[in-house]
Subunit: 201 residues, 2 copies
Amino acid sequence: MDTLIALNKFRKYFESFVPLNDEEWQALSQYLTVDPLKKKKFYVEAGKVCDQIGLVVKGSVRYYHVKDGEEITGYFSFEDEMLSSYKSFLTRTPAVNYIQALEDSVIVNLSHKNLQQACMNELLGFKMERFGRLVAEHYLICYEERVTSFITQSPEERYSQLLETGGEALYRIPQHYIANFLGITPVSLSRIRRRIMKISA
Amino acid sequence: MDTLIALNKFRKYFESFVPLNDEEWQALSQYLTVDPLKKKKFYVEAGKVCDQIGLVVKGSVRYYHVKDGEEITGYFSFEDEMLSSYKSFLTRTPAVNYIQALEDSVIVNLSHKNLQQACMNELLGFKMERFGRLVAEHYLICYEERVTSFITQSPEERYSQLLETGGEALYRIPQHYIANFLGITPVSLSRIRRRIMKISA
DNA sequence: TCAAAACGTTAACAAAAGATAAGGAATTGG
DNA sequence: CCAATTCCTTATCTTTTGTTAACGTTTTGA
């Protein structure tokens, strides 16, 4: 993907939170890099500090933990979504999870160092700060809703809701990743799917 | 509780994220109110917009949803923790949960309107913005870890970990609230407790 | 102070989910 | 292009969890 198109996608995403004039964008774009992430390559690996935050401008990634030698998928990021191991990035501690490309992807990256510099930049500081707040709030709300779903809904209800809210991307993801995402086993998800099929049939 | 003591607690909390000089604090404190919240009184009710964000300076509160006529406890806030229905507060939409005082409490409140004014205040704007970002990031990390625990751990593991990390406050909270918090039934938690007792005995 | 309500535990049974294995379809990667 | 792997489903069996109800204790509130 063309670097300029990628950067413009980042600008559009940024501006959905905080508007920028051309001068500000010019300054901000200096801090960004556009990097390809080939399928199966890692954006983050457990044990290493996640040193950047990025926007998926093409493709998709999968977040997963490894427990007892098993991969457990926790989340996904698709086009026009941010990606990072937030805790690792924010606290400068080793990540506890992996982030891996599900397909050939392109990421617009902002390294920790560059973010700090952008925040100290006269012209940008305030807007970077606000962007950071709004993005954090956005994902805070996402997580809040996810926790609520774990507490108030059965696995079957969670899956039904996912079918309603999740886009077509859902159909490109292996079922066992979705099962992990819902907090159940693949076998259990398969049973739920059969039950739902019978009802709607 | 004395108003000044309460306000100083808020200052201390704020400064654990962003330092303030006396002049800035003087400005900020104008936007705050100190309100008692008697046991069983509501800080937020489902269906109403949560119009403020607060810091618990004394006491504790419980977050809960009502589903099929049943109360399901999702979270708690204790002394020196923030409280709000974040989604409702941030998006100005009706809350989907209740927040109720577990004991006679005192809250230092910042209304949505006052927060906006503080953000537009020359002297404070930047620091408010940063405080907002850091608090959002802090709770983002909390939620991230909670979601991870739902996906990677069994209810028994979640409870064991809660025993390790949760403070003495744990022993003041009814078991069935904790069961909800863990995403299981009170009966199931009781069985887990017996199993753990046997092991450690 | 005292009756009512709330709590935690336990038991018995039902329902759901996990574990394991097998089989066929789809995908992958050389 | 084809062998190897991954994937989804299904079946069986085990374990865990949910449901309901009962009982004694503690707490609450009038």
